[in-house]
């Protein structure tokens, strides 16, 4: 398997976990993060997609990873199978489209939080009545919801119908505004070229720092990776708390969780809203990167791929979700060499992945938490011995 950026970060942080001293851990994490940011500039052979712009591919990889992390809260943590996640993705994208272009002209960064909130509200609105429906019934209800969103957009004048919304503004460039032929931004960062040996810095090929243009997806990639890292941090804080435990218990046995004092409905709704919000966030990013959205971009099949991301990665593990999202977005691009066979190959790859790692690429790990608990036992038993 080719290394994909996000799992690289995961690997780094995992290596980090082996070191007990904090500085080493932090150094490694920082290096990992830096590597993730630098990835599109490095043009690493084999990893870089030969048939598609790597910056653009990395953007979708990061977008899928972000989506998968959000969906992982719903599926992996709370155990709710959501087959209509694309509905939230669409809601986020359309909120941005409507606010920044179609009806109003808000700046992107003002529209972004609104998009997240709107999507969360959509999540609650869907969740409140339907979360009482269980298991696979929920799956099909959510699937229906995803389709309803798309069809309503297709049939609603106010949302641009099937024509969609074009010319969605990009985030503002920091530094000199770009002109035709002039990328603008603060400064240029050269890419690395491997076509010669030894590899060289390719000054002819630069990414301009925080210049958002159609020709260079890399600043968008940085933007979404930043969002991803923040979301991952929040995810970790929640998961390692009472909230995470409540989700897990609900997933394991809802009735018993309830009887143990977990207000399961509220927690399911929370998971749903958070997942939706993150879906909305990635939809918003997608809209501004794409500058053009259409209902056709939010087809049912996408929901399936999102679910596949979470599960292929290992439902319940955030790094698994990142890896899964990356794999599902990356493989079809990597397989472009197979020309018209590539989707067939991708399908087979999914079967192979499933069979090869039924628990996912990174199954949820309990060992680390278990380690922490071990230390506590030592203490406690030590105390006991003294009594």
């Amino acid at each position: 398997m080719n290394l994909v950026p996000a799992p690289v970060a995961a690997t780094f942080s995992r290596i980090g976990a082996r070191f007990d001293n904090r500085p080493a851990k932090i150094t490694l994490a920082v290096l990992g993060v830096l590597f993730v940011y630098a990835l599109p500039l490095l043009n690493i052979p084999l990893l870089t997609t030969p048939d598609s712009d790597f910056g653009g591919v990395l953007f979708s990889v990061a977008a899928y990873a972000l989506i998968a992390v959000g969906l992982n809260i719903v599926i992996g943590y709370a155990g709710l199978l959501d087959l209509g996640y694309v509905g939230f993705y669409a809601t986020g994208a359309y909120t941005v489209g409507v606010l920044t272009q179609y009806h109003w002209h808000w700046p992107f960064f003002l529209a972004l939080p609104v998009a997240i909130v709107v999507t969360m509200i959509a999540g609650v609105m869907l969740g409140a009545p339907t979360l009482r429906v269980r298991g696979d019934y929920l799956a099909i209800v959510t699937m229906g919801f995803g389709e309803i969103i798309r069809l309503v957009i297709t049939n609603t004048e106010w949302l641009g119908k099937s024509g969609g919304i074009a010319k969605i503004p990009m985030p503002p460039t920091i530094g000199t505004p770009p002109q035709p032929g002039e990328p603008g931004g603060l400064f240029g960062i050269p890419h690395i070229s491997w076509s010669t040996f030894p590899n060289v810095v390719d000054v002819g090929h630069e990414t301009h720092f925080l210049s958002f243009t159609v020709l260079d997806a890399i600043p968008f990639y940085w933007l979404i990776v930043t969002a991803l890292l923040l979301v991952l941090l929040g995810d970790k804080l929640l998961k390692d708390s009472r909230v995470g435990r409540a989700w897990e218990a609900t997933r394991e046995d809802e009735d018993v969780a309830e009887i143990m004092g977990v207000p399961t409905f509220r927690y399911k709704l929370l998971a749903f809203a958070l997942g939706a919000g993150i879906g909305g966030l990635s939809g918003a990013m997608f809209a501004t990167r794409q500058t053009f959205i259409q209902p056709a971009s939010f087809a049912l099949l996408l929901s399936m791929l999102f679910v596949a991301s979470v599960i292929v990665g290992g439902a319940g593990n955030r790094w698994g979700a990142v890896a899964g999202g990356a794999v599902v977005a990356y493989l079809p691009e990597r397989f472009r060499g197979f020309t018209e066979w590539r989707m067939l190959v991708f399908g087979i790859a999914l079967i192979v992945l499933a069979t090869w790692r039924p628990e996912g690429l990174f199954p949820p790990r309990r060992t680390r938490r278990a380690k922490a608990a071990e230390a506590e036992i030592e203490e406690l038993e030590g105390d006991a011995a003294n009594v």
Binding site: G56, L151, H205, E340
Partner: protein, 360 residues
């Protein structure tokens, strides 16, 4: 100003070799609408085969980027075409959605594109410098189709569209031109007509319409035509270029398709083209947009032949191109629309689409 962006780093590197030029294609090859994209690449290959036979010493190759017809997948692919300095012209993008999503990038990179099929009206209103298409847009065909329908005696028309850019655009133009002659409208989802066709038939019959116009593709319109005839509906069936494919007749059946009118901004493809196409494509017959793609590719190849081997030169060449193609005279306006806007009406008779006549 065009050449200013056209000559950035790309032409610098391209000087490496005299030959080895490439043209790109961006559009569907797989996915639900892969067949339309395959029709296009078939046309391009036909043009390319002919060219390369004559220029064995300096062949041009084709780089295909499969977008699956999805505007989401297209941008990085467009970028990778742009980044390949050997690529000096692009046939495509195939669909309006992906054209809208990539137009800015091509324009900023100065890489000329000639679409064989993207018909959305707005595409030429973005100020893009590199966009061209070899067929009339959705607005051009509508009024002619409406006129022709009325010439055939239609008084009450039911107008349908497939909820896609092209279908809604064309149907909208038809509706506008027909005005009060429209007795009913409805829309279905592209490729999903099977679920709704019976309801549509009931509706059309119930509306008392004496004719139907469908803005959509043969995969859907063919079935509708068949079901209407099976339900003993006797009116006139008309559809646009999206239905002008032998698949329409196959699907509607000879009886279902009989008398159907298909309009298109294209002269009938010659038998000569058909046989060339079949030779270049393993015996498969041309389909919808094959001939247009052939014309688009031919324009680019003619440019390369004439020595326009940089992006800017080829762009200039295409801008001033004026030659007959298999579908029409190919010449572009400033915004990239093809100037020949003559619309032809084709009628199905005895299970065959008969050669069309210009609508006057």
């Amino acid at each position: 100003s065009l050449s200013a962006c056209g000559t950035t780093d790309s032409s610098k590197n391209a000087d490496g070799g005299k030959c080895g030029y490439k043209i790109g294609f961006l559009g569907a090859q797989t996915g639900p609408n892969g067949n339309l994209g395959l029709n296009m690449t078939g046309g391009i290959k036909t043009a390319l085969d002919a060219y390369n036979k004559d220029h064995a010493d300096c062949k041009v190759s084709l780089v295909i980027k499969d977008s699956q017809g999805s505007q989401d997948q297209a941008p990085p692919l467009a970028k990778s075409l742009i980044d390949d300095s050997k690529i000096i012209g692009v046939v495509g993008p195939g669909f309006s959605g992906e054209s809208a999503a990539t137009g800015d990038a091509f324009s900023q990179a100065g890489l000329v594109t000639v679409s064989p099929s993207a018909t959305n009206v707005d595409l030429t209103k973005n100020g893009w410098k590199t966009f061209h298409r070899v067929l009339a847009n959705d607005d051009a065909q509508g009024p002619a189709a409406a006129k022709y329908l009325q010439q055939q005696g239609a008084k009450k028309v039911f107008v349908l569209d497939d909820s896609e850019d092209y279908g809604t655009g064309l149907a909208g133009a038809v509706k506008k031109a027909l005005g009060s002659a429209v007795v009913g409208t409805d829309s279905y989802e592209k490729d999903k007509i099977a679920d709704v066709v019976s309801g549509l038939v009931t509706k059309i019959k119930g509306s008392g319409a004496d004719s139907v116009f469908v803005g959509g593709y043969y995969g859907d319109s063919g079935l509708l035509a068949k079901k209407l005839r099976q339900a003993a509906w006797k009116g006139i069936f008309e559809s646009g270029d999206g239905s002008e494919d032998p698949g329409f007749v196959d699907q509607a059946g000879a009886a279902g398709a009989e008398g159907a009118i298909l309009t298109a901004a294209a002269a009938p493809a010659t038998a000569d083209f058909t046989s060339k196409y079949e030779a270049a494509n393993g015996g498969k017959a041309p389909g919808l947009y094959s001939a247009e793609a052939y014309d688009a590719a031919t324009a680019l190849l003619n440019g390369i032949d004439s020595g326009a081997t940089t992006r800017s030169a080829l762009l200039d060449y295409v801008n001033s191109y004026d030659k007959p193609g298999v579908t029409k005279q190919i010449k572009f306006t400033k915004t990239g629309e093809v100037t020949t806007q003559t619309i032809y009406a084709y009628t199905v008779k005895d299970g065959k689409i008969q050669p069309g006549t210009p609508i006057k």
